[in-house]
Protein backbone atom coordinates (compact mmCIF):
# COMPACT_ATOMS: atom_id res chain seq x y z
CA UNK A 1 0.00 0.00 0.00
CA UNK A 2 1.71 3.19 -1.12
CA UNK A 3 1.75 6.34 0.95
CA UNK A 4 0.11 9.57 -0.15
CA UNK A 5 1.24 13.15 0.26
CA UNK A 6 -1.21 15.89 0.99
CA UNK A 7 -0.77 19.43 -0.30
CA UNK A 8 -2.73 22.36 1.02
CA UNK A 9 -2.60 26.02 0.09
CA UNK A 10 -4.70 28.80 1.53
CA UNK A 11 -6.03 32.05 0.14
CA UNK A 12 -7.05 34.09 3.13
CA UNK A 13 -9.17 37.23 2.81
CA UNK A 14 -8.80 39.62 5.69
CA UNK A 15 -10.86 42.77 6.37
CA UNK A 16 -8.67 45.74 7.10
CA UNK A 17 -9.34 47.99 10.07
CA UNK A 18 -10.30 51.18 8.23
CA UNK A 19 -13.18 53.51 9.04
CA UNK A 20 -14.31 53.66 5.44
CA UNK A 21 -14.56 51.42 2.44
CA UNK A 22 -11.78 50.78 -0.06
CA UNK A 23 -13.00 53.17 -2.75
CA UNK A 24 -15.62 55.42 -1.12
CA UNK A 25 -16.37 57.18 2.14
CA UNK A 26 -19.11 54.81 3.35
CA UNK A 27 -18.56 53.46 6.86
CA UNK A 28 -17.30 49.89 7.26
CA UNK A 29 -19.21 49.49 10.53
CA UNK A 30 -20.48 45.94 11.08
CA UNK A 31 -24.04 45.05 12.00
CA UNK A 32 -25.86 48.14 10.67
CA UNK A 33 -29.28 47.96 9.06
CA UNK A 34 -29.16 46.59 5.53
CA UNK A 35 -28.22 49.01 2.75
CA UNK A 36 -27.59 52.00 4.98
CA UNK A 37 -23.88 52.30 4.19
CA UNK A 38 -24.14 52.61 0.44
CA UNK A 39 -23.36 55.31 -2.10
CA UNK A 40 -23.06 55.64 -5.88
CA UNK A 41 -19.54 54.15 -5.78
CA UNK A 42 -20.22 51.02 -3.72
CA UNK A 43 -23.54 50.45 -5.48
CA UNK A 44 -21.83 50.62 -8.86
CA UNK A 45 -24.04 53.47 -10.05
CA UNK A 46 -23.55 54.72 -13.60
CA UNK A 47 -20.73 57.27 -13.65
CA UNK A 48 -19.40 56.56 -10.16
CA UNK A 49 -15.62 56.25 -9.84
CA UNK A 50 -13.44 54.57 -7.21
CA UNK A 51 -10.92 56.58 -5.20
CA UNK A 52 -8.39 54.66 -3.16
CA UNK A 53 -8.38 54.73 0.62
CA UNK A 54 -4.76 55.57 1.45
CA UNK A 55 -5.06 54.08 4.92
CA UNK A 56 -6.03 50.69 3.46
CA UNK A 57 -2.91 50.71 1.31
CA UNK A 58 -0.80 51.53 4.34
CA UNK A 59 -2.36 48.74 6.40
CA UNK A 60 -1.81 46.20 3.66
CA UNK A 61 1.84 47.22 3.41
CA UNK A 62 2.24 47.01 7.19
CA UNK A 63 0.77 43.50 7.13
CA UNK A 64 3.27 42.65 4.39
CA UNK A 65 6.17 44.03 6.40
CA UNK A 66 5.06 42.06 9.48
CA UNK A 67 4.96 38.91 7.37
CA UNK A 68 8.38 39.51 5.88
CA UNK A 69 7.16 40.35 2.37
CA UNK A 70 8.95 42.40 -0.24
CA UNK A 71 7.00 45.58 -0.92
CA UNK A 72 6.32 46.34 -4.56
CA UNK A 73 7.28 49.95 -5.05
CA UNK A 74 5.08 50.15 -8.13
CA UNK A 75 1.72 48.53 -7.76
CA UNK A 76 -1.38 48.50 -9.97
CA UNK A 77 -5.04 47.53 -9.83
CA UNK A 78 -7.03 45.33 -12.18
CA UNK A 79 -10.64 44.53 -12.90
CA UNK A 80 -11.75 40.95 -12.40
CA UNK A 81 -14.92 40.44 -14.39
CA UNK A 82 -17.66 38.15 -13.18
CA UNK A 83 -21.38 38.49 -12.78
CA UNK A 84 -22.83 37.91 -9.36
CA UNK A 85 -25.56 39.84 -7.57
CA UNK A 86 -23.41 40.68 -4.55
CA UNK A 87 -20.73 42.38 -6.69
CA UNK A 88 -22.10 45.83 -7.43
CA UNK A 89 -20.20 46.58 -10.63
CA UNK A 90 -20.13 42.96 -11.79
CA UNK A 91 -16.39 43.29 -11.68
CA UNK A 92 -14.17 43.33 -8.65
CA UNK A 93 -11.30 45.75 -8.31
CA UNK A 94 -8.30 43.68 -7.29
CA UNK A 95 -4.61 43.30 -8.04
CA UNK A 96 -3.56 40.68 -10.54
CA UNK A 97 -0.36 41.89 -12.17
CA UNK A 98 1.44 43.93 -9.55
CA UNK A 99 0.21 43.30 -6.00
CA UNK A 100 1.43 45.37 -3.07
CA UNK A 101 3.41 42.61 -1.32
CA UNK A 102 5.43 39.68 -2.63
CA UNK A 103 6.84 36.69 -0.75
CA UNK A 104 7.11 36.48 3.01
CA UNK A 105 5.89 33.70 5.25
CA UNK A 106 4.49 32.46 8.52
CA UNK A 107 6.49 30.22 10.88
CA UNK A 108 4.58 27.29 12.35
CA UNK A 109 5.47 24.64 14.91
CA UNK A 110 5.08 21.07 13.76
CA UNK A 111 5.97 17.81 15.50
CA UNK A 112 9.11 17.80 13.30
CA UNK A 113 10.12 21.24 14.48
CA UNK A 114 9.33 24.76 13.36
CA UNK A 115 8.96 25.55 9.66
CA UNK A 116 8.35 28.57 7.46
CA UNK A 117 5.20 28.43 5.34
CA UNK A 118 5.84 30.68 2.37
CA UNK A 119 3.46 33.39 1.23
CA UNK A 120 3.22 33.88 -2.51
CA UNK A 121 1.88 37.42 -2.37
CA UNK A 122 -0.62 39.73 -0.69
CA UNK A 123 -2.92 41.85 -2.78
CA UNK A 124 -5.51 44.46 -2.02
CA UNK A 125 -9.12 44.19 -3.15
CA UNK A 126 -12.72 44.97 -2.22
CA UNK A 127 -15.29 42.76 -0.56
CA UNK A 128 -18.69 41.90 -2.03
CA UNK A 129 -22.12 42.50 -0.49
CA UNK A 130 -24.20 39.86 1.20
CA UNK A 131 -26.96 37.72 -0.26
CA UNK A 132 -29.63 36.64 2.18
CA UNK A 133 -31.70 33.60 1.25
CA UNK A 134 -35.38 33.46 2.07
CA UNK A 135 -37.98 30.83 1.34
CA UNK A 136 -39.15 32.36 -1.93
CA UNK A 137 -36.63 34.99 -2.86
CA UNK A 138 -33.16 36.24 -2.11
CA UNK A 139 -32.18 39.69 -0.92
CA UNK A 140 -28.98 41.71 -1.29
CA UNK A 141 -27.42 44.00 1.28
CA UNK A 142 -24.52 46.08 -0.03
CA UNK A 143 -23.24 47.41 3.31
CA UNK A 144 -20.21 45.14 3.14
CA UNK A 145 -19.64 45.75 -0.56
CA UNK A 146 -16.39 47.65 -1.00
CA UNK A 147 -14.92 46.89 2.41
CA UNK A 148 -11.12 46.79 2.06
CA UNK A 149 -9.76 43.27 1.93
CA UNK A 150 -6.30 41.95 1.59
CA UNK A 151 -5.87 38.51 0.17
CA UNK A 152 -2.95 36.55 1.54
CA UNK A 153 -2.06 33.73 -0.80
CA UNK A 154 0.12 30.98 0.66
CA UNK A 155 2.33 28.65 -1.31
CA UNK A 156 1.10 25.05 -1.23
CA UNK A 157 3.44 24.36 1.69
CA UNK A 158 1.02 22.77 4.12
CA UNK A 159 0.62 19.03 4.44
CA UNK A 160 -2.06 18.42 7.03
CA UNK A 161 -5.14 20.00 8.57
CA UNK A 162 -3.11 20.58 11.75
CA UNK A 163 -0.51 22.53 9.82
CA UNK A 164 -3.24 24.55 8.15
CA UNK A 165 -4.62 25.37 11.60
CA UNK A 166 -1.19 26.36 12.88
CA UNK A 167 -0.68 28.59 9.84
CA UNK A 168 -4.04 30.31 10.21
CA UNK A 169 -3.59 30.71 13.95
CA UNK A 170 -0.18 32.30 13.59
CA UNK A 171 -1.23 34.39 10.61
CA UNK A 172 -4.19 35.74 12.53
CA UNK A 173 -2.01 36.46 15.54
CA UNK A 174 0.47 38.44 13.45
CA UNK A 175 -2.26 40.46 11.73
CA UNK A 176 -3.89 41.32 15.05
CA UNK A 177 -0.48 42.28 16.42
CA UNK A 178 0.07 44.38 13.31
CA UNK A 179 -3.09 46.29 14.20
CA UNK A 180 -4.41 46.00 10.64
CA UNK A 181 -7.41 43.78 11.33
CA UNK A 182 -9.60 42.63 14.16
CA UNK A 183 -9.60 39.20 12.48
CA UNK A 184 -12.97 38.66 14.09
CA UNK A 185 -14.16 35.37 12.65
CA UNK A 186 -17.79 35.82 13.67
CA UNK A 187 -17.96 39.08 11.74
CA UNK A 188 -16.42 37.42 8.72
CA UNK A 189 -13.20 39.43 9.04
CA UNK A 190 -11.10 36.46 7.98
CA UNK A 191 -12.30 34.02 5.34
CA UNK A 192 -10.30 31.41 3.49
CA UNK A 193 -10.44 29.51 0.24
CA UNK A 194 -8.61 26.22 0.59
CA UNK A 195 -6.81 24.40 -2.22
CA UNK A 196 -6.13 20.78 -1.63
CA UNK A 197 -4.66 17.87 -3.55
CA UNK A 198 -3.20 14.44 -2.88
CA UNK A 199 -0.52 12.49 -4.72
CA UNK A 200 1.36 9.24 -4.23
CA UNK A 201 4.72 9.53 -2.55
CA UNK A 202 7.45 9.78 -5.13
CA UNK A 203 5.34 11.69 -7.63
CA UNK A 204 6.88 15.08 -8.37
CA UNK A 205 4.03 17.12 -9.70
CA UNK A 206 1.10 18.01 -7.50
CA UNK A 207 -2.19 16.16 -7.82
CA UNK A 208 -5.30 17.75 -9.29
CA UNK A 209 -6.73 20.12 -6.76
CA UNK A 210 -10.14 20.97 -5.49
CA UNK A 211 -10.89 24.39 -4.06
CA UNK A 212 -13.20 24.80 -1.09
CA UNK A 213 -14.56 28.33 -1.08
CA UNK A 214 -15.27 30.94 1.49
CA UNK A 215 -14.92 29.40 4.93
CA UNK A 216 -14.92 31.64 7.96
CA UNK A 217 -14.31 29.37 10.94
CA UNK A 218 -11.09 27.53 11.74
CA UNK A 219 -13.14 24.59 12.96
CA UNK A 220 -14.96 24.44 9.64
CA UNK A 221 -11.71 24.59 7.68
CA UNK A 222 -10.27 21.77 9.77
CA UNK A 223 -13.32 19.57 9.34
CA UNK A 224 -13.57 20.36 5.63
CA UNK A 225 -9.92 19.50 5.10
CA UNK A 226 -10.27 16.21 6.94
CA UNK A 227 -13.31 15.32 4.90
CA UNK A 228 -11.81 16.40 1.59
CA UNK A 229 -8.55 14.50 2.17
CA UNK A 230 -10.54 11.36 2.90
CA UNK A 231 -12.66 11.91 -0.19
CA UNK A 232 -9.71 12.45 -2.49
CA UNK A 233 -7.73 9.53 -1.04
CA UNK A 234 -10.73 7.27 -1.48
CA UNK A 235 -11.03 8.21 -5.14
CA UNK A 236 -7.31 8.01 -5.88
CA UNK A 237 -6.82 4.70 -4.11
CA UNK A 238 -9.62 3.21 -6.16
CA UNK A 239 -7.72 4.34 -9.23
CA UNK A 240 -10.08 7.21 -9.97
CA UNK A 241 -9.15 10.79 -10.85
CA UNK A 242 -9.97 13.97 -9.01
CA UNK A 243 -11.94 16.60 -10.90
CA UNK A 244 -10.54 20.10 -10.74
CA UNK A 245 -13.48 21.99 -9.30
CA UNK A 246 -14.80 24.37 -6.71
CA UNK A 247 -16.49 22.78 -3.71
CA UNK A 248 -18.52 24.06 -0.85
CA UNK A 249 -18.36 22.92 2.79
CA UNK A 250 -21.74 21.98 4.19
CA UNK A 251 -21.24 22.18 7.94
CA UNK A 252 -24.61 20.59 8.73
CA UNK A 253 -23.99 17.52 6.63
CA UNK A 254 -20.29 17.52 7.41
CA UNK A 255 -19.26 17.14 3.79
CA UNK A 256 -17.88 19.06 0.84
CA UNK A 257 -20.07 19.31 -2.23
CA UNK A 258 -19.34 20.14 -5.80
CA UNK A 259 -20.55 23.61 -6.81
CA UNK A 260 -22.23 23.58 -10.17
CA UNK A 261 -20.29 26.30 -11.93
CA UNK A 262 -20.53 27.37 -15.53
CA UNK A 263 -17.67 26.24 -17.73
CA UNK A 264 -16.73 29.87 -18.29
CA UNK A 265 -16.85 30.72 -14.59
CA UNK A 266 -13.10 31.23 -14.45
CA UNK A 267 -12.75 33.36 -17.57
CA UNK A 268 -12.32 36.52 -15.50
CA UNK A 269 -11.03 38.76 -18.29
CA UNK A 270 -8.65 40.66 -16.03
CA UNK A 271 -7.42 43.98 -17.35
CA UNK A 272 -5.83 47.07 -15.80
CA UNK A 273 -8.33 49.26 -13.93
CA UNK A 274 -8.36 52.50 -15.97
CA UNK A 275 -10.01 54.49 -13.17
CA UNK A 276 -7.17 53.96 -10.68
CA UNK A 277 -3.68 55.26 -11.28
CA UNK A 278 -0.76 53.17 -10.01
CA UNK A 279 0.48 53.30 -6.43
CA UNK A 280 4.14 54.10 -5.97
CA UNK A 281 5.61 53.69 -2.53
CA UNK A 282 8.90 55.42 -2.04
CA UNK A 283 11.51 53.44 -0.17
CA UNK A 284 11.94 56.05 2.51
CA UNK A 285 8.27 55.96 3.51
CA UNK A 286 8.20 52.17 3.59
CA UNK A 287 11.31 52.20 5.77
CA UNK A 288 9.62 54.66 8.11
CA UNK A 289 6.65 52.31 8.39
CA UNK A 290 9.00 49.39 8.93
CA UNK A 291 10.76 51.20 11.74
CA UNK A 292 7.45 51.84 13.47
CA UNK A 293 6.18 48.25 13.18
CA UNK A 294 4.65 46.71 16.26
CA UNK A 295 6.34 43.70 17.90
CA UNK A 296 5.74 40.25 16.45
CA UNK A 297 4.14 37.67 18.75
CA UNK A 298 7.35 35.65 19.09
CA UNK A 299 9.35 38.72 20.05
CA UNK A 300 6.76 39.66 22.57
CA UNK A 301 6.86 36.25 24.22
CA UNK A 302 10.62 36.50 24.55
CA UNK A 303 10.45 39.99 25.93
CA UNK A 304 7.79 39.09 28.45
CA UNK A 305 9.92 36.24 29.78
CA UNK A 306 12.85 38.59 30.16
CA UNK A 307 11.02 41.61 31.45
CA UNK A 308 8.67 39.95 33.91
CA UNK A 309 10.57 36.79 34.76
CA UNK A 310 7.53 34.66 34.01
CA UNK A 311 7.92 31.16 32.59
CA UNK A 312 7.93 30.67 28.82
CA UNK A 313 4.69 28.77 29.14
CA UNK A 314 2.99 31.74 30.78
CA UNK A 315 4.33 34.14 28.18
CA UNK A 316 3.03 31.85 25.44
CA UNK A 317 -0.47 31.72 26.93
CA UNK A 318 -0.62 35.45 27.61
CA UNK A 319 0.78 36.54 24.25
CA UNK A 320 -1.46 34.24 22.25
CA UNK A 321 -4.10 36.97 22.04
CA UNK A 322 -2.63 40.43 21.77
CA UNK A 323 -5.31 42.10 23.90
CA UNK A 324 -4.52 39.66 26.73
CA UNK A 325 -0.85 40.45 26.57
CA UNK A 326 -1.61 44.17 26.48
CA UNK A 327 -3.85 43.75 29.52
CA UNK A 328 -1.26 41.78 31.41
CA UNK A 329 1.49 44.26 30.77
CA UNK A 330 -0.53 47.24 31.94
CA UNK A 331 -1.63 45.37 35.09
CA UNK A 332 1.91 44.13 35.70
CA UNK A 333 3.23 47.68 35.71
CA UNK A 334 0.54 48.69 38.20
CA UNK A 335 1.02 45.90 40.74
CA UNK A 336 4.56 44.62 40.24
CA UNK A 337 3.49 41.06 41.10
CA UNK A 338 4.28 39.41 37.81
CA UNK A 339 4.02 35.69 38.44
CA UNK A 340 1.04 36.05 40.78
CA UNK A 341 -0.68 38.22 38.21
CA UNK A 342 0.09 35.74 35.47
CA UNK A 343 -1.44 32.94 37.58
CA UNK A 344 -4.54 34.98 38.21
CA UNK A 345 -4.91 35.74 34.54
CA UNK A 346 -4.23 32.27 33.21
CA UNK A 347 -6.56 30.52 35.65
CA UNK A 348 -9.35 32.64 37.09
CA UNK A 349 -9.63 35.33 34.44
CA UNK A 350 -9.37 32.95 31.49
CA UNK A 351 -11.93 30.71 33.13
CA UNK A 352 -14.36 33.61 33.32
CA UNK A 353 -13.56 34.54 29.71
CA UNK A 354 -14.32 31.10 28.42
CA UNK A 355 -17.49 30.76 30.53
CA UNK A 356 -18.82 34.10 29.34
CA UNK A 357 -17.63 33.77 25.76
CA UNK A 358 -16.26 37.30 26.00
CA UNK A 359 -12.88 38.69 25.12
CA UNK A 360 -10.81 40.68 27.55
CA UNK A 361 -11.79 43.88 25.78
CA UNK A 362 -15.47 43.03 25.93
CA UNK A 363 -15.65 42.26 29.69
CA UNK A 364 -15.63 44.89 32.44
CA UNK A 365 -12.43 43.80 34.12
CA UNK A 366 -9.71 46.41 33.80
CA UNK A 367 -5.95 46.09 34.25
CA UNK A 368 -6.34 48.50 37.15
CA UNK A 369 -8.98 46.45 38.97
CA UNK A 370 -7.09 43.18 38.57
CA UNK A 371 -3.83 44.79 39.68
CA UNK A 372 -5.60 46.20 42.70
CA UNK A 373 -7.02 42.80 43.59
CA UNK A 374 -3.62 41.14 43.38
CA UNK A 375 -2.12 43.91 45.49
CA UNK A 376 -4.81 43.53 48.18
CA UNK A 377 -3.97 39.83 48.50
CA UNK A 378 -0.26 40.48 48.46
CA UNK A 379 -0.59 43.03 51.24
CA UNK A 380 -2.70 40.61 53.25
CA UNK A 381 -5.70 42.94 53.28
CA UNK A 382 -7.85 40.11 51.96
CA UNK A 383 -7.14 36.46 51.60
CA UNK A 384 -7.13 34.42 48.42
CA UNK A 385 -10.61 32.93 48.76
CA UNK A 386 -12.14 36.36 49.33
CA UNK A 387 -10.34 37.66 46.27
CA UNK A 388 -11.69 34.81 44.17
CA UNK A 389 -15.19 35.61 45.34
CA UNK A 390 -14.81 39.25 44.31
CA UNK A 391 -13.40 38.60 40.85
CA UNK A 392 -16.70 37.85 39.04
CA UNK A 393 -18.08 41.23 40.11
CA UNK A 394 -14.97 42.94 38.80
CA UNK A 395 -15.40 40.97 35.59
CA UNK A 396 -19.12 41.50 35.09
CA UNK A 397 -19.87 44.82 36.73
CA UNK A 398 -16.58 46.65 36.59
CA UNK A 399 -16.39 47.17 40.36
CA UNK A 400 -13.11 48.17 42.03
CA UNK A 401 -11.89 45.70 44.70
CA UNK A 402 -10.48 48.14 47.33
CA UNK A 403 -13.79 49.94 47.49
CA UNK A 404 -15.71 46.66 47.74
CA UNK A 405 -13.49 45.49 50.60
CA UNK A 406 -14.03 48.70 52.44
CA UNK A 407 -17.78 48.92 51.86
CA UNK A 408 -18.43 45.30 52.71
CA UNK A 409 -15.95 45.04 55.59
CA UNK A 410 -14.14 42.17 53.96
CA UNK A 411 -10.69 42.98 55.28
CA UNK A 412 -8.87 39.98 56.65
CA UNK A 413 -8.87 39.52 60.47
CA UNK A 414 -5.27 39.26 61.63
CA UNK A 415 -5.88 40.68 65.08
CA UNK A 416 -4.64 37.87 67.34
CA UNK A 417 -6.97 38.91 70.16
CA UNK A 418 -10.04 38.39 67.96
CA UNK A 419 -8.66 35.15 66.56
CA UNK A 420 -7.81 33.91 70.08
CA UNK A 421 -11.45 34.24 71.12
CA UNK A 422 -12.69 32.49 67.90
CA UNK A 423 -10.22 29.69 68.61
CA UNK A 424 -11.26 29.26 72.22
CA UNK A 425 -14.88 29.09 71.14
CA UNK A 426 -14.05 26.38 68.56
CA UNK A 427 -11.98 24.34 70.99
CA UNK A 428 -14.84 24.36 73.47
CA UNK A 429 -17.43 23.35 70.93
CA UNK A 430 -15.30 20.56 69.38
CA UNK A 431 -13.93 18.60 72.28
CA UNK A 432 -13.86 15.40 70.25
CA UNK A 433 -11.65 16.83 67.53
CA UNK A 434 -9.32 18.29 70.13
CA UNK A 435 -9.12 14.89 71.77
CA UNK A 436 -8.53 13.20 68.41
CA UNK A 437 -5.63 15.52 67.72
CA UNK A 438 -4.11 14.95 71.08
CA UNK A 439 -4.51 11.21 70.46
CA UNK A 440 -2.35 11.57 67.36
CA UNK A 441 -4.89 12.25 64.58
CA UNK A 442 -3.11 15.35 63.31
CA UNK A 443 -5.67 15.85 60.54
CA UNK A 444 -8.10 17.12 63.12
CA UNK A 445 -6.17 20.43 63.14
CA UNK A 446 -7.41 21.16 59.64
CA UNK A 447 -11.00 20.73 60.69
CA UNK A 448 -10.48 23.10 63.60
CA UNK A 449 -8.88 25.71 61.33
CA UNK A 450 -11.89 25.45 59.06
CA UNK A 451 -14.21 26.07 61.96
CA UNK A 452 -12.27 29.18 62.98
CA UNK A 453 -12.45 30.45 59.39
CA UNK A 454 -16.18 29.81 59.37
CA UNK A 455 -16.65 31.71 62.60
CA UNK A 456 -14.70 34.65 61.14
CA UNK A 457 -16.93 34.45 58.07
CA UNK A 458 -13.88 33.73 55.95
CA UNK A 459 -12.02 36.83 56.92
CA UNK A 460 -9.40 35.24 59.17
CA UNK A 461 -5.91 34.93 57.86
CA UNK A 462 -5.72 31.13 57.47
CA UNK A 463 -1.94 31.00 57.89
CA UNK A 464 -2.12 32.85 61.17
CA UNK A 465 -4.94 30.60 62.40
CA UNK A 466 -2.89 27.47 61.58
CA UNK A 467 0.02 28.83 63.49
CA UNK A 468 -2.05 29.77 66.52
CA UNK A 469 -3.74 26.37 66.66
CA UNK A 470 -0.39 24.62 66.45
CA UNK A 471 0.92 26.76 69.27
CA UNK A 472 -2.15 26.10 71.41
CA UNK A 473 -1.78 22.33 70.99
CA UNK A 474 1.89 22.61 71.75
CA UNK A 475 0.92 24.36 75.00
CA UNK A 476 -1.52 21.51 75.70
CA UNK A 477 1.31 19.03 75.24
CA UNK A 478 -0.02 17.69 71.91
Amino acid sequence: MSKYLITIGLETHVHLKTHTKMFCGCATEFGSEANTHVCPVCLGYPGALPVMNGEAIKQCVIAGLMLGCEINHYSTFDRKNYFYPDMCKDYQITQMEKPLCIGGGVTIDTPEGSRRVRIHHIHQEEDAGKIIHYARHSGVDFNRCGTPLMEIVSEPDLSSPDEAMAYLHNLRQILVYAGVSECNLEEGNMRSDVNISVRPEGQEELGIRAEIKNMNTFKGIYAALEYEIERQLYIVKKGGTITQETRRWDADLGETQSMRTKENAHDYRYFPEPDLVPVTLDKEMVEQWRAALPELPAARRERMVKEYGIPEYDAGVLADEKPNADFFEIAAKLCGEFKTLSNWFMTDVMCLLSESGKTITQCSLTPKSLAELVTLVKKGVINGPTAKELLPELFNDGLMPAKMVEERGLAQVSDSGALESFMNEVFEANEKSVADYLAGKKAAAGYLTGQVMKLSRGKADPKLVNKMIAEKFAGMGG
Binding site: C26, V38, S138, R248, T261
Partner: protein, 96 residues
Protein backbone atom coordinates in the same frame (compact mmCIF):
# COMPACT_ATOMS: atom_id res chain seq x y z
CA UNK B 1 -4.03 34.37 -38.85
CA UNK B 2 -7.62 35.25 -38.14
CA UNK B 3 -8.90 33.85 -34.86
CA UNK B 4 -12.47 32.68 -35.00
CA UNK B 5 -14.80 34.36 -32.57
CA UNK B 6 -17.28 32.07 -30.84
CA UNK B 7 -20.19 34.47 -30.51
CA UNK B 8 -22.32 32.01 -28.55
CA UNK B 9 -19.63 31.48 -25.92
CA UNK B 10 -18.72 35.14 -25.67
CA UNK B 11 -22.32 36.32 -25.39
CA UNK B 12 -22.84 33.88 -22.54
CA UNK B 13 -19.73 35.27 -20.88
CA UNK B 14 -21.14 38.78 -21.38
CA UNK B 15 -24.55 37.68 -20.07
CA UNK B 16 -26.46 38.76 -23.13
CA UNK B 17 -29.01 36.29 -24.48
CA UNK B 18 -28.89 36.61 -28.27
CA UNK B 19 -31.53 35.40 -30.65
CA UNK B 20 -30.38 33.02 -33.38
CA UNK B 21 -30.65 35.83 -35.90
CA UNK B 22 -28.53 38.13 -33.76
CA UNK B 23 -25.94 35.42 -33.26
CA UNK B 24 -25.72 34.91 -37.00
CA UNK B 25 -25.58 38.63 -37.74
CA UNK B 26 -22.90 39.27 -35.12
CA UNK B 27 -20.89 36.24 -36.14
CA UNK B 28 -20.37 37.69 -39.59
CA UNK B 29 -19.93 41.31 -38.55
CA UNK B 30 -17.58 40.55 -35.70
CA UNK B 31 -15.43 38.27 -37.85
CA UNK B 32 -15.00 41.18 -40.26
CA UNK B 33 -14.14 43.55 -37.42
CA UNK B 34 -11.75 41.10 -35.77
CA UNK B 35 -10.03 40.57 -39.11
CA UNK B 36 -9.63 44.32 -39.39
CA UNK B 37 -8.26 44.92 -35.89
CA UNK B 38 -5.67 42.22 -36.45
CA UNK B 39 -3.78 44.75 -38.49
CA UNK B 40 -2.04 45.64 -35.21
CA UNK B 41 -0.12 42.42 -35.72
CA UNK B 42 1.78 44.33 -38.37
CA UNK B 43 3.45 46.43 -35.66
CA UNK B 44 6.70 45.56 -33.97
CA UNK B 45 5.72 45.91 -30.34
CA UNK B 46 8.68 44.26 -28.63
CA UNK B 47 10.05 46.45 -25.86
CA UNK B 48 7.13 48.85 -26.06
CA UNK B 49 5.52 49.67 -22.73
CA UNK B 50 1.75 49.41 -22.60
CA UNK B 51 -0.38 52.51 -21.98
CA UNK B 52 -2.92 51.64 -19.34
CA UNK B 53 -4.36 55.04 -18.51
CA UNK B 54 -5.48 58.19 -20.25
CA UNK B 55 -2.75 60.15 -18.54
CA UNK B 56 0.40 59.44 -16.58
CA UNK B 57 0.22 60.00 -12.85
CA UNK B 58 0.41 57.98 -9.64
CA UNK B 59 -0.84 57.95 -6.05
CA UNK B 60 -4.33 59.34 -5.89
CA UNK B 61 -5.61 58.71 -2.38
CA UNK B 62 -8.55 59.59 -0.23
CA UNK B 63 -8.42 60.16 3.53
CA UNK B 64 -10.05 57.47 5.65
CA UNK B 65 -12.91 59.72 6.71
CA UNK B 66 -16.57 58.73 6.64
CA UNK B 67 -18.82 60.67 4.25
CA UNK B 68 -22.61 60.50 4.12
CA UNK B 69 -24.25 57.52 2.46
CA UNK B 70 -27.33 57.66 0.22
CA UNK B 71 -30.87 57.52 1.54
CA UNK B 72 -31.96 53.89 1.54
CA UNK B 73 -35.48 54.60 0.34
CA UNK B 74 -34.21 56.46 -2.71
CA UNK B 75 -31.72 53.72 -3.46
CA UNK B 76 -34.26 50.91 -3.18
CA UNK B 77 -36.84 52.87 -5.15
CA UNK B 78 -34.46 52.89 -8.10
CA UNK B 79 -34.32 49.09 -8.04
CA UNK B 80 -36.58 47.00 -10.26
CA UNK B 81 -37.60 44.95 -7.21
CA UNK B 82 -37.13 45.60 -3.51
CA UNK B 83 -38.20 44.68 -0.02
CA UNK B 84 -38.26 47.05 2.95
CA UNK B 85 -34.53 46.96 3.30
CA UNK B 86 -33.00 44.90 0.51
CA UNK B 87 -32.70 44.52 -3.23
CA UNK B 88 -34.97 41.65 -4.16
CA UNK B 89 -33.88 38.82 -6.41
CA UNK B 90 -35.42 35.60 -7.61
CA UNK B 91 -34.34 32.78 -5.33
CA UNK B 92 -30.74 31.92 -6.02
CA UNK B 93 -30.34 28.25 -6.72
CA UNK B 94 -27.13 28.19 -8.68
CA UNK B 95 -23.69 29.05 -7.50
CA UNK B 96 -22.15 31.05 -10.25
Amino acid sequence: MSQSIDVAYVSELARIALTDDETKLFQGQLETIVDYVEKINGLDLDNIKPTMHGQVSTNFFRDDVVSPSLDREAVLDNAPARTDSEFKLPKIVEDA
